[in-house]
Amino acid sequence: MALFRVVLLIAAALCAAALPAAAQVQDELLLSKRPQKLLSAYGLFADGAQQAPASGVVPYDLQVPLFTDYAEKYRFVYVPAGQKATYHDTEVFDFPVGSVLVKTFAYPADLRKPDEDVTLIETRLLIHQEAGWNAWAYVWNEDQKDATLKVAGKVLPLDFINLAGEAQSINYVVPNKNQCKGCHSFDKAVTPIGPKARNLNKEYAFASGSENQLIHWSNAGLLDGAPALDQIPSVPTMNDAGADINARARAYLDINCAHCHRAEGPGSTSGLFLTYGEKSAVTWGYEKRPVAAGRGSGGFTYDVAPGNADESILLYRMISTDPGIMMPEVGRTLAHEEGIKLIRDWINSLE
């Protein structure tokens, strides 16, 4: 039996390059401790170049996404047949072993036309294996037909036209395996960040029609235990001008910062916790003094100086692109202008 599996492994490894992408998810390979060299081997896509998922792989979107240098992201979830993720009110759903979260990063030639002339950059897999979640990054080949495993990360020079219509060049950083853990870490174990009820609670244009994602997941047999829709927490989008600015800002900080800045995360040492549910004002930064900020303090006294965004350390570190100052520490080389505006308006609105 063991030998049989090894032969299969070799066959998959040897053939993956030559064959078109498998159209069926390879559960066995997902559970293998050693990663596949090519993304196509896992059979997650019917057509990788078109980002068309294989059967059983469901696309999803987040209400407020993490900012990553304006990259377009295509997200997919796979839960092994016959199994279900378990709903949780505030934390990431409990996904069964064998589940995968897939995120492809891509850049359109012109950010103002997100669906045209798109180049796939990398696809990250977060696989729930027997020993816990495991993260791997695959960089798309020049011909865009398949993507190749990169363990040590890579810096990729990229050019695109930004939202203001200007030419922009960046050094896109494909994270190494440890950098994945820099964010995807909860009590030192690798863990997903995005798929929480409040982030998923939104409509999505599925091939079968538009539907709330959590209802779709429940109906498709991926998710167990979701309550009625009006019982599920929700957050406003960043630019929902009709929504409370506190909620918008805290939702933004939640997805962009709180994976580290929480008691169980890599940023615990700071005592600055930015989860959406954090109620202690000093803990989410209100007149909180810096601890180990170094020149990240910018010479300012408080993380959030109410009414005074431009003397708030939190905003100062969002604006910076200097690796000794900027926050988040990884995942961006550009400043997020729209996020900066939201946080500036929010801090200035605080009394």
């Binding site: 363990v151 950083v173 950098q179 853990k181 000093v282 020149r295 300012f300 690796p323 520490e329």
Partner: protein, 413 residues
């Protein structure tokens, strides 16, 4: 059959991962090609228990390095021979980040990181042996904050280190437990050696010189671990700390006066003995309460149970800086006494009758050692104020000695 299986698996594995580092005890990290990729890949793929050997030479790194595999030794050819330069770093907020247990770092240097030098977060057994961290341009507010930076860790050893130019603390141990910092040298940092919000630390046989403040023992509010205690500072030389404070404002160390030998802020059960304090223009030894407003009901801002004995004191306090100039010197005159306690206590009773026995400040020093209790609380309470008390005999006494810190990684010593 089993053998064939594992051979085949071995072939598959090595064809998937180009580096053949599995099941090896010692891995030589190659200087050929991209050193950044070679080293980072080795750090990721290392099997627990192995040693990564770094070649001699000077290597330019662009991204932060990180280690998350337990029981790894990283060994260079020496702190002057193997140099990792981060002057051109574009990503990551430290040079090297360690997050796995049982890691021993030895014999290499990290230079010019835009952020921190080497950070260890949440590690059980982290050892820095003969490591140098340096900002080669000298003191500069643009330098990274911490040189050696273990935090939320336990069983921390820093031995034979050299740290220069940190814009916060050269050697900083924060929110940790069971710590030894010894045989190390900290110079031209804002704080030479700083133990913050930590329990059970031995700081001995170090030299802290040309910093703003030589040795700091701090406890700060609003942090996951507070209530720093059980720290011994002994047989160190904290002399000639003469670098103007260059920390960015907002950070607590930006308040440290130039020319401070030792500053104990908050904390309990601190023993200071056998040290040499000299040529510190603000003061040799300051015992102080946390001076800022804070919002944290679990926090105690006072230094309690401090025992200072058998130290030697050279010249100090002739040209005080910051709070020593503004608050202390006007009350004591110049030179500022060798040991100054701000006299902040928890309430009026303690202000008049002294703190409880276990919280007392006890000083047992050679004749001629000068002292002042500024009586800050009494000064606030009494309409006519209170002058400093300078009778060191008020603090005579003895306390039980604190016991030595034991570290599992030194058990074979």
């Amino acid at each position: 059959m089993k053998t064939i299986d594992s051979v085949i698996v071995g072939i598959v594995a090595s064809s998937i991962i180009s580096m053949n580092v599995f099941a090896q005890e010692t891995v030589e990290v190659s200087a050929e090609g991209s050193f950044q990729e070679n080293l980072q890949e080795a750090l990721i793929l290392a099997e627990p228990g192995s040693t990564l050997m770094l070649p001699a030479g000077r290597f330019e790194l662009q991204s932060a390095l990180s280690l998350d595999v337990p029981n790894i030794t990283i060994k260079g050819a020496g702190m002057e021979e193997t140099v990792l330069s981060f002057a051109g770093q574009v990503s990551g907020s430290e040079g090297l980040l360690v997050t796995s247990d049982g890691v021993w770092l030895e014999g290499f240097a990290v230079e010019d990181t835009p952020g921190d030098g080497i950070k260890a977060k949440g590690v059980d057994q982290i050892s820095f042996k003969d490591i140098r961290v340096e900002w080669t341009n000298g003191p500069d507010a643009e330098n990274g904050a911490y040189g050696l930076y273990p935090v939320e860790s336990k069983n921390v050893l820093i031995d034979g280190a050299l740290v220069k130019g940190a814009s916060d603390a050269g050697i900083y141990v924060g929110q940790s437990q069971h710590i030894i910092v010894r045989n190390s040298r900290a110079e031209y940092n804002v704080a030479g050696i700083e133990i913050e919000n930590s329990f059970f630390a031995d700081v001995y046989d170090n030299v802290a010189t040309h910093n703003t403040g030589g040795i700091l023992v701090f406890d700060l509010p609003n942090l996951p671990q507070m209530g720093g205690h059980s720290v011994r500072v002994f047989n160190n030389k904290s002399v000639n700390n003469d670098t103007a404070n260059f920390a960015p404002e907002g950070n607590i160390v930006a308040t440290v006066p130039k020319g401070t030998g030792l500053l104990v802020m908050a904390n309990s059960n601190i023993e200071v003995f056998g040290n040499e304090f000299a040529e510190n223009a603000s003061a040799n030894v300051l015992l102080a309460a946390y001076p800022r407003e804070y919002n944290d009901e679990d926090y105690n801002p006072l230094p309690r149970g401090i025992y200072v004995h058998g130290n030697t004191y050279g010249r100090a306090g002739w040209e005080p800086d910051k709070a020593v100039a503004e608050l202390i010197a006007p009350a004591t005159g110049l030179p500022v006494p060798d040991i100054v306690w701000d006299g902040a206590v928890d309430g009026v009773w303690s202000a008049f009758f002294g703190p409880d026995e276990q919280d007392r400040i006890i000083i047992d020093e050679a004749d001629g050692t000068t002292f002042a209790n500024l009586q800050f609380v009494k000064d606030l309470v009494l309409p006519w104020g209170a002058d400093p008390k300078t009778d060191i005999a008020d603090h005579a006494g003895e306390r039980p000695r604190l016991s030595a810190v034991q570290l599992p990684q030194l058990e074979s010593d």
